[in-house]
Amino acid sequence: MRALTRGAVLLLASGLVVAGCGREENGEGTGGGAEAEAESVAEGEATGTVEVWAMGAEGENLDVLAEDFMAENPEAEVRVTPVPWEAAHDKIATAIAAGEVPDVSLVGTTWMGEFAATDALDPTPTDLIDEDAFFDGAWDTTVYDGTSYGVPWYVETRLVFYRSDLAEQAGVEEPTDWDSLKALATGLQEAGARWGLNLQPGATGAWQTFMPFAWQNGAAIVDDEGNYALDSPEMVEALEYYASYFEEGLASTALAQPGELESGFAGGSIGAFVSGPWHVTLVEEQGGEGFEEQYTLAHMPEQETATSFVGGGDLVVFRDAENREAAWKFVEYVSRPEVQQKWYETVSALPSVESAWESGELADDPKLALFGEQLQDAQSPPAVPTWEQVAAVIDAQIEAVVVGGADPAAAVAEMQAQAESIGTGG
């Protein structure tokens, strides 16, 4: 029935112009609004069918966990539909519009604000899911307007990758703060790298490389009241620091083409870069045998803090889910530490649950353990529905400074002005 109403909507949208039926008085539609109440989930085994959408490798391999879950809950059936990452966002958005949602879906962390604001997501039942089990930064990705609308499933965070062999040759130490990171980049360049440190000069996602530096310097995207606070002196300083790599010829102002980074790092023309766990496999594949000895990872440099970016994927349950109870039970199941470890073994997705890092390969492998350590100090952007648009503004202003030679202070003021005019949506 609801679907019928919605169909009429777009055809008869004229009615709205004439009749002037509009938003509710607070101007926010029904989305979001005040803190939503989470319903509890009954105890006991899950029953019935749970439809799950999951992307990429996660979607492909989720059957492994689904089978375990079904063994534990013989009355339940989990049906997984793998969805290509490429258009997953659009598929979820159209599904919400048409009211044809699954019970559970994987959602990229930076989409959370947008989907939560549609009121399509079910608030996380706090009696079932323990917030404290997760990394703080990861949990924050699920929180929209004071309420959590999902559960972090897997995480990723950014570290400094650098060629330890070249660093040794140049006699530079592991970077610990901004100055020593600069020294590392300079040293790597002296040791033969064309670019000391690869940083993204602009274009989609540049903010993910830049914002850690801003956070390290004490800058923030929003203040405690949730208003944009981009135009701080700390932000300007961070942008100046970021831009200095380009001015000093340590970083290339040309956008790295696909493959250029991995290939350049393996070949020694790029001395260092900042990226996430997937790059461990990529560079080792590129560098061939023995390459794992030639490079190493470093924690983010410390200024005020040593903060990094945290991203990944959250699991959400839709309000329109046909089997809400079993859906949440499944989500709870996949966030158990032992299941998270098994999931890591299956698709190398890093656990969002802290205790899953305490044993096994994640604790023993020094490179992996460093990701776990960095996750203790990692932030995510605020889950506001307009985030992607604000992110694009930050990307554009980074490019304006780095490539276009704009003044960092002016660029930061422009970021703030544009972010304010975009608003936090809702």
Binding site: G108, G259, E260, E262
Partner: protein
């Protein structure tokens, strides 16, 4: 037909123009087209063009047997260092290939046939039948061609969903079964068919359907072949619509299924991407090979006027 009034303007004869070979006359000679040196130049020019055009295709073919590491290499390599069919193996092992291929064929073939029939019908009406509203109808069709697809995507999905057509073949097919592109194409081609021919058939007492199917359609071989190639291509490659309409994996079409594994959240598996692209492209090339034979002069056309 528009008379070529300027064709009689005298001009210098081309080098081969005056030479008429003895029997049997070649196709080129019958057409009065370049001979000898002229033709050699045509071949040279075409070959140069060909090299420039097929480069990326060849790279795609070669890329599909390379490893991901080699594909990421900068500068890129042409010949694979270690050719292997692993990418294809992965695709075929992981994908329920028969299902996706069947879905793709059913959808693309139905859409193509629908466009051939319905668009020619309207194209015929728009050019050879006089009726009130004809001009407005044409402008409307043309207008539809110009609305950016992105704009109507969400409303279209809501409508299809309300009709209960998600996860069904009709949901995948109906919105594309008769497109404005085909109408415009067929209208332009049918407008080139002499009215005399149709009038003659009318005088002989033929009904409009008969004229359309027995007189006009046989003359439209090249146009129908073109429409078939282009419609099939568009439908076959369509990605977003089938992804959104399909609610379960078994309704995915080939491009959707192939995209599942190639593009990740943060990294792309280029080997799978290239192999997938090759797999998707082969049926299209086969169809092109099959249909390009119709790019020959309509014989019936020549005797008229």
């Amino acid at each position: 037909m528009t008379a070529p009034t300027h064709a009689t303007t005298p001009g210098p004869a081309g080098p081969g123009g005056a030479v008429q070979p003895a029997a049997p006359p070649s196709a080129a000679a019958r057409r009065g087209r370049p001979e000898g040196r002229d033709r050699a130049w045509v071949y040279v020019a075409l070959t140069v063009g060909l090299v420039l055009l097929v480069g990326p295709f060849v790279w795609m073919l070669l890329g599909s047997v390379k490893t991901d590491a080699e594909l990421r290499q900068v500068p890129p390599t042409w010949l694979p260092e270690q050719a292997s069919l692993d990418n294809y193996r992965v695709l075929f092992e992981r994908l329920d290939f028969a299902t996706y291929f069947t879905n793709s064929v059913v959808v693309a073939a139905t859409v193509t046939v629908g466009n051939l029939v319905f668009c020619s019908m309207l194209g015929y009406a728009l050019t050879k039948l006089d009726f009130p509203g004809r001009r407005a109808l044409f402008v409307l069709v043309l207008g539809m061609l110009m609305v950016p697809g992105m704009v109507i995507f969400v409303p279209l999905f809501v409508i299809v969903s309300n009709m209960g057509l998600t996860n069904t073949y009709p949901g995948l097919i109906l919105p594309y079964l008769a497109g404005p592109f085909g109408v415009f194409l067929m209208r332009q081609f049918i407008s080139g068919i002499p009215d005399e021919l149709i009038d003659a058939a009318r005088v002989d007492g033929a009904g409009e359907w008969r004229i359309f199917s027995r007189v006009v359609m046989p003359l439209c071989g090249p146009a129908l072949a073109t429409l078939a190639i282009l419609t099939f291509l568009a439908s076959w490659n369509n990605f977003l619509w089938p992804l959104v309409v399909a609610q379960t994996e078994d309704m995915y079409t080939l491009p959707v299924a192939l995209a599942l594994y190639a593009v990740g959240q943060n990294a792309t598996r280029y080997g799978l991407l290239m192999a997938g692209s090759v797999v998707v492209v082969l049926p299209i090339i086969a169809l092109f090979l099959l249909l390009q034979r119709y790019f020959v002069r309509g014989i019936t056309m020549t005797g008229i006027k």
